[in-house]
Amino acid sequence: MLGAVLLLAVLPALNRLPADSALHVSDFIVSVSGKWITYAILALAIDLAWGYAGILSLGHGAFFALGGYAIGMHLMRLIGPRGVYGHPTLPDFMVFLGYKELPWYWLGFDHFPFAILMAMAVPGLLAAVVGYLAFRSRITGVYFSIITQAMTYALMLAFFRNDMGFGGNNGFTDFKELLGMPLNTPTARSALFYASLALLVLSYAICSRITQSKLGRVLVAIRDAESRVRFLGYDVTQHKLFVFVLSAVLAGLAGALYVPQVGIINPGEFSPGNSIEAVIWVAVGGRGTLVGALLGAFSVNALKTWLTTVAPDLWLFALGGLFVAVTLFLPRGLIGLVSKVTK
């Protein structure tokens, strides 16, 4: 883990090397690996809930997206009068859709701290409500998975609606700056890269602290025999809610770092397929081990980036085949393979 972090940490530096140097890393790699790091945080969040507590959320992409929307709203507000219509407060899409004033829920997003707070609070709150209702009624297993899938699907449909005031299908794009940095510069990109890396390390620390504590063992116990845990006197709802909300907050933060790096946030991020894919990263890497989640997120995404270019017609076969092969032959994921090989 440490090695991997170090390797990632020097990426932007390697990028500064002359292009013909053997160690040179292209701009492109730097910019996509920043994005992969945010994916890795999402994977970590999913693994905490699924791998340990057995809460398989098929809607974690929603928390990621909500975090992204929060920061996206901030970025939109920062555009200010630089939009094509020159409106001092309204983003362009609102102008040409005929909005006269900013909807109330856009207020405050011109402040960065508020936006970051919302990037955590909104996913956290949603997770708290959905989780509380579900856990309290003892909705478990696939029922919970499908409920969360419905949640993200409903959000997707809702955000697609132009009338929601979130830019509909297009979402937000064409951001200009963040914290005074113009976004389309290498400096901004490495800053975001390091911010993501820092969050990754922090999330990893939090997750491993949890999984190694007795709380981690309670979660595993809940995963295996939820009702038995209750008879031992543990309030299962509380424990599940704790990890689920934490996991959602991490996902939200990951989303907040993702959006300025990819330059767009739109309802497609809520699509159930995205959430499933994120779960697959975890499964491919190795569910129930934190390193596995990271490994999965990086390897699947790197493979996808590579294959969609070298085999644009066939990459779905390769990726689909990988999912099949890993679940079939590597029940403990790539990490299982790694530990087998090193043994």
Binding site: R209, I210, S213, K214, L215, R217, V218, V220, A221, R223, D224, A225, S227, R228, V229, R230, F231, L232, G233, Y234, D235, V236, Q238, H239, F242, V243
Partner: protein, 258 residues
């Protein structure tokens, strides 16, 4: 005799009841699993419950631990109305249970199973901060010794044999250190020697705690030396010493056989 610590034979009438069931009925789709059942267990009492298969013994434990809500009747533990509380709250009041079918956490080791059962603050943050003290470790090791699983402490519970699982269940119950122990068929699948061991263990505990044991093994029940309640078709059929119930013709008819 009435200091509430040493276990008396039979219920000391003067001791405040720990567990109080009155007129409890449980109906499943029209079938009365419990039928107007009343039962009082005093502090420090050891009580054996026997009765035909399907008499409602396990259902009674379900009612006490909050797993099943009674259709009617009163269920009290000290001053608490158990019919309104959930399982975790009831457990935290000090009621521990060993299940008829052993259930534990397969992915955890035997040691960790016991650690989870150990009486300690149960909230998520408390669990996060929890560190295994020397004292706690010693208690776990003592229980491991007691249930004969010391050698298996680091094995995952999943690979235990049926009898070993029974013992682990008992161990977890001991770790909880409850006021009231509900023990459902503890010696099923144990050898004769283990059965004796278990009986002695329960008798020892009963001094400080109240214990309700369900069993079909009458040798074991005899070894407990406690008052015996016979359930049948959801209500009490007979009550008294083991010799008394064993000679009760109704008990012979429905339960013991000729």
């Amino acid at each position: 005799m009435s200091d509430g610590i040493s276990p008396p034979l039979g219920t000391p009438k003067e001791a405040a009841p720990v567990l109080y069931l009155d007129g409890v009925s449980v109906v499943f789709d029209g079938f009365r699993a419990l039928n107007n059942l009343s039962l009082i267990v005093g502090a420090g009492e050891l009580r054996a419950i026997i009765g035909p298969n399907g008499a409602g013994k396990t259902t009674m434990m379900d009612v006490i631990t909050g797993k099943t809500r009674p259709t009617e009747g009163v269920v009290r533990f000290r001053d608490h109305d158990l019919t309104r509380l959930d399982e975790a709250t009831i457990a935290n009041l000090g009621i521990g249970r060993k299940f008829q079918k052993p259930t534990m956490f397969d992915a955890l080791t035997v040691f960790e199973n016991l650690e989870l059962a150990l009486k300690a603050p149960r909230g998520p943050l408390a669990c996060l901060r929890w560190a295994l003290s020397g004292e706690a470790r010693r208690r776990i090791e003592a229980v491991l010794e007691e249930v004969g699983l010391t050698a298996r402490a680091q094995d995952r519970a999943a690979i235990l044999s049926h009898g070993q699982r029974q013992w682990l269940e008992i161990g977890m119950l001991l770790m909880q250190d409850p006021e009231l122990l509900l023990v459902d068929e503890p010696v099923a699948g144990m050898t004769d020697q283990e059965t004796e061991h278990t009986a002695a263990l329960l008798v020892r505990i009963a001094g400080k705690r109240s214990v309700v044991v369900v069993e079909h093994d009458l040798e074991f029940v005899r070894a407990l030396g406690s008052k015996v309640t016979v359930l049948c078709e959801g209500s009490m059929l007979s009550e008294g010493s083991i010799d008394h119930v064993q000679n009760d013709p109704r008990v012979i008819e429905v339960y013991l056989g000729r």
